[in-house]
Amino acid sequence: MKQITLVTILAAAAIALPLVIGENPYITGILISVLMMAALSSAWNILGGYAGQYSFGHAAYFGAGAYTTMILLTNYSTLNPLICIAVGIIVASIIALITGSIVFRLRGHYFGLASIAVAEIVRLSVLNFDFTGGAQGILLSDVSLWGLDLNSKNPFYYGMLLVLVVTLGITAYLRTSKTGYYLQAIREDQDAASSLGINLSFYKNKSLLISAALTSVLGSLYGLYIRFIDTSAVLDLRLSIEIILTAIIGGVGTLWGPVVGAFLLVPLAEMLRSNLLGDALIKAGLVSETSALGIFLKENLAHAHVLVYGIITVLCILYLPKGILGLFRRAK
């Protein structure tokens, strides 16, 4: 009961938020990034957290959605973007099925390595084909849906929010269903799972398919939102790793962990990128602007958000192996 109340309040707050902050593209932009990363990480969590299959190649499905949508819209500009998103899901699912049939034969670290390999194959293919725009990427001049003002950010805020809610809903449902129990059994011990009647490859592929389809929708939305994509934006290994780190830091295999992780890490990365943190420290008089540390903060920290991710991850693994949510679990 408590959880339902909490969810209702959160949902109401999330829906009302753009109205409260009004027309502030900067803040809305950050919120969209937070929601997107929360949804991406939650989608990854279905495969990585529940089934225990650490995919390091989720950028492939994100890119599949983004590229499919962008390529379709540049060639057929009157197409309904929702159809493009649907086609994106199909493309991502095909990649997922091919990937799954090959890499799910492998276990543990080998699965992780193979998932990177598949994602790199996708990235290098896209980089070298002509119809994908190659290294130049794809720029979309205009897009329209139902007369919505797609130059404003609010439609994308609600779009990302919707996908996040759907992803969390699927996760919550899975947790109490046969599939959810089976995925967790696979995570804990594959031989035991198999001896208890669980078809390993069927359930692994099922979770990969759900995860990949949701990820591709987010990729499509991202493409429509930014209207420019290239391989370094949507197919990079860095993206796959950020998705995983968000889940690890928030709490792998928990419903809310990836959301918590995203609300912490995305604003943090933004603060580092825009030098807010360095400036704040200097302004507060904690660090002198001319000292070595001050210069470092101003000059280099902006490029260091991945480094900070890394440090937080190491600290989390050492002291919070169950993520931030694990803290509250233990207290119970």
């Binding site: 804990e188 011990d189 031989d191 035991a192 208890l196 669980i198 078809n199």
Partner: protein
């Protein structure tokens, strides 16, 4: 021809040049308890892995009911009604005891509520009710073995393969497990079990199959086996036999 529940016929398993199991045949009838014994490295667990689909056999056939099951996956074998436990217990560590048993129960139902009912019932009959919400990984070994048994019974097997279910247990715990096994049989299950503890084996088995160095050494009733000179030699004589 008599219909056996399980028929292992001329099964061999080679790992490269290593012969782990060579030309082993035996049959198990319904409601029998058959013991599979032999010294370390005799190929007992390998044979189990072949029967349950974890290893493909090199040659020979495994027939369950009337179906040839050599080429089936372990999960298919389980859903046909043959379930196994593991010598080294494999609890689903971070799941609760109840959830562990529910995972087993899901092979006979798709509904979580039904699976939970089956699991609660199974825990009750195993005396594990008090531990239902504990995480499976935190149980002591004796209870982990019981959990392993509860979980596999929740799949409602016709044939149960137990791999050293009493291994590592003290006398009281062993007796408790043997009592459970007798109760299971009264309910109609058939059991094959690997065991080192001769006393446990002879007290409960209808028939015993003895493996040595991957080959079948003897087969018979507990009395026949305990008086068989080859078996005594294999266990005690350290290679003086044959």
């Amino acid at each position: 021809m008599i219909q056996h529940l399980l028929r292992v016929s001329h099964v061999s398993k080679h790992f490269g040049g290593n012969v782990a199991v060579h030309d082993v045949s035996f049959a198990v009838d319904e409601k029998q308890i058959v013991g599979l014994i032999g010294p370390n490295g005799a190929g007992k667990t390998t044979l189990f892995n072949c029967i349950t689909g974890f290893f493909p056999v090199t040659s020979g056939e495994v027939i369950f009911d009337i179906k040839k099951i050599n080429d089936l996956r372990p999960d298919e074998v389980c859903r046909l009604g043959m379930a196994r436990t593991w010598q080294r217990v494999k609890p689903l560590g971070s799941l609760s005891v109840l959830e562990n048993v529910m995972v087993g129960a899901f092979s006979v139902t798709n509904k979580a509520r039904q699976a939970e009912e089956i699991a609660i019932e199974q825990l009750k009959s195993m005396g594990l009710t008090d531990y239902a919400s504990k995480s499976a990984g935190s149980l002591p070994i004796g209870l982990k073995k019981k959990l392993e048994l509860a979980r596999v019974l929740a799949t409602h097997p016709k044939l149960l393969l137990l791999d050293e279910i009493c291994g590592g247990l003290n006398h009281t715990e062993t007796d408790a497990i043997l009592d459970i096994i007798r109760t299971i049989r009264q309910r109609g299950a058939t059991i094959v079990f690997i065991e080192h503890d001769m006393k446990a084996v002879t007290s409960i088995c209808d028939r015993i199959v003895v493996l040595n160095s991957g080959e079948k050494l003897a087969e018979g009733t507990p009395e026949e086996i305990t008086n068989n000179p080859d078996v005594i030699a294999a266990y005690l004589g350290g290679g003086h036999h044959a």
